[in-house]
């Protein structure tokens, strides 16, 4: 079999000079490949590990196995047509990506967003956060060895997928947020479905906690593993639950509120020890807090339009096309040529389930963006992985990869 021979690396160990320690070059430690096809690297992450026995000495992440050229593709598309691309970037947080991109466009053209749309955006992004944390919890537990949690998490996830399907017609890649508001108003089945979820879900979180939080096996595998001090977390640029696990109170929803997050009451859970277990507790608590926000947003959902009335940037309602010449012209212009934002550059940030998701947008006044860049939390957290993994056993590495909650689509784009 030619495949077998290919898999044996024929290179010279001296080529790795600078990446691994001197001891590996002398043959005292071994260099081991992990991934890109590995069940617990959460996608196509490849790690080059230097091992002293079973202890990780160095760990060098190799990314790019899922590089999709999304940012470059966006330069060739009109602003509104790129929203579908953002869904597929961090595929566990499609609504959050939509939101970051739409907020950037809205900021550069100073577009108003009606309050109803803002509240619905908050509601749906929080449901997406729960959705993402459910996948994280299921796979993280599966990696560490708790199979049944995965099955429970995906059972609840299906209910959320149904809600997304109700609003947008798609289970995962919703493309529901548009510059100036939403694609359409939520249908009438939406509210009962969300209320049903709100009443159903808290007891399920209790179930997960009963399975894991006091489970001695879980404690053994997570407590004191993957320690990250507060100073290191800041220095490495960690955000989101990874940063808050080290006890630093920084949540963009609280610190720099966007999309009317300042109207909602919620707590930001903080860790004390900065280990895998604390970050687990934080994400579980975040699901509860997200549910609180969803409840508040649904109870106080204002009536009114679901998207801006600025016809230069937002398409007119379909019903007007038959009666109004002006609406027809606007519609035609928007779908053929696209809109032209003023020249300039903006940076907006949102709190994705993984941390700070930033969108940096440069416009040269044409219907297509000159440059779009995403500051994605997975990429930043991957650069913190060597620091986190150093000195732990190779069996703990699986838990450490899980705890920073990387999505390779987010890191590679």
């Amino acid at each position: 079999m030619s495949g077998l021979q290919d898999s044996v690396w024929a290179g010279d160990i001296q080529q790795l000079k600078g990446l691994v320690s001197e001891r590996a070059l002398n043959g005292e430690t071994i260099v081991l490949n992990m991934g890109p096809q590995h069940p617990s690297t959460h996608g196509v992450l490849r790690l080059m590990l230097e091992l002293d026995g079973e202890t990780v000495v160095t760990c060098v992440p190799d990314i790019g196995y899922l590089h999709t050229g999304i940012e470059k593709n966006m330069e060739a598309k009109q602003y509104e047509k790129s929203i579908t691309m953002t869904d597929r970037m961090d595929y566990l947080n499609p609504m959050g990506n939509n939101l970051a991109y739409c907020l950037a466009i809205e900021k550069i053209i100073d577009l108003d967003v009606p309050l109803r749309a803002q509240y619905l955006r908050v509601l749906l992004t929080e449901l997406t956060r729960i959705n993402s944390h459910l996948v994280w919890l299921g796979t993280h537990a599966l990696d560490i060895g708790a199979m049944s949690v995965f099955l429970y998490c995906f059972r609840e996830r299906e209910k959320l997928q149904d809600i997304f399907e109700i609003v947008s017609g798609q289970r995962m890649m919703t493309t529901y947020f548009r510059p100036g508001g939403l694609w359409r108003d939520v249908p009438e089945e939406f509210e009962p479905a969300v209320r049903d979820f709100i009443s159903y879900f808290p007891a399920r979180i209790e179930d997960y906690e009963r399975l894991l939080t006091d489970n001695p096996l879980w404690l053994d595998r997570t407590q004191g593993i993957g320690f990250l001090s507060a100073q290191d977390a800041v220095a490495l640029g960690c955000t989101g639950p990874t940063l808050r696990g080290s006890g630093i109170n920084w949540d963009i929803r609280k610190a720099l509120p966007y999309s009317s997050y300042e109207h909602f009451e919620f707590d930001v859970p903080l860790g004390q020890h900065g280990d895998v277990y604390d970050r687990y507790l934080i994400r579980v608590e975040e699901m509860r807090q997200s549910l609180r926000i969803v409840q508040q947003a649904l109870d106080s959902l204002p009536d009114g339009p679901f998207r801006s009335n600025n016809r230069k940037y937002v398409p007119p309602p379909r019903s007007e096309l038959g009666t109004s010449m002006e609406a027809l012209i606007h519609h035609f212009k928007l779908w053929t040529e696209g809109f032209r934002p003023p020249e300039g550059e903006v940076y907006v940030r949102v709190e994705s389930p993984r941390g700070e998701l930033g969108c940096y947008l440069i416009s040269d006044g044409s219907p297509k963006p000159w440059r779009v860049h995403f500051r994605t939390p997975s990429f930043i957290h991957l650069s913190a992985l060597p620091h986190l993994a150093k000195g732990y056993l190779i069996a703990d590495l699986v838990g450490i990869i899980g705890t920073i909650d990387i999505v390779l689509g987010d890191a590679d784009r």
Binding site: M1, V44, L66, T68, G69, K72, R88, M173, G409
Partner: protein
């Protein structure tokens, strides 16, 4: 399966060997745990509680290509990933099948650019294509059943 009971109530059935072999292959076709991108999440949904792929004899997802029969290419294949994917395919023992899940794996999808292989059939032979971005779990199950129907038609060429 074409079972014919020729021997009355002796509890013995006769069947063509091909049918029996193909039936066995479809009832325990182990897919490889090989997720690339968004479609992998839907593949996990298909495997998990609600859709329960183990109903179709796919109880186990094997992370090792040496233990798997079916490669579900779930997601976009970048040019950097392509040689890895081919190597994994080569490492799978015969008989082996490939299911291309989603638009990106089937034809490049929305990413007609420098980074993405325009269809995984440029690298490995594909048996069944499943459309969708990402396909619903029902669509994936339909693709798998289509593959099963195909496998049942296969002829044994090497009787040694």
């Amino acid at each position: 399966m074409g079972v014919t009971s020729k021997l009355g109530d002796l509890g013995i059935v006769t069947v063509r060997l091909e049918d029996a072999v193909n039936w066995a292959r479809t009832r325990a076709m182990w897919p490889m745990l090989f997720g690339l991108a968004c479609c992998a999440i839907e593949m996990m949904s298909t495997q998990a509680s609600v859709y329960d792929l183990s109903r179709f004899g796919m109880e186990l997802m094997r992370p090792s290509p040496r233990q798997s029969d079916l490669m579900i290419v779930a997601g976009r294949v970048s040019r950097k990933m392509a040689p890895v994917l081919r190597q994994l395919y080569d490492q799978m023992p015969d008989p082996k099948w490939v299911l291309s899940m989603g638009d990106c794996a089937s034809c490049g999808g929305v990413y007609n650019n420098y980074a993405i292989v325009q269809g995984v059939d440029e690298i490995v032979p594909v048996d069944v294509y499943v459309a969708g971005c990402p396909p619903r779990p029902e669509q994936l199950i339909h693709g798998i059943i289509t593959l099963h129907e195909r496998v049942k038609q296969e002829r044994i060429t090497d009787w040694a």
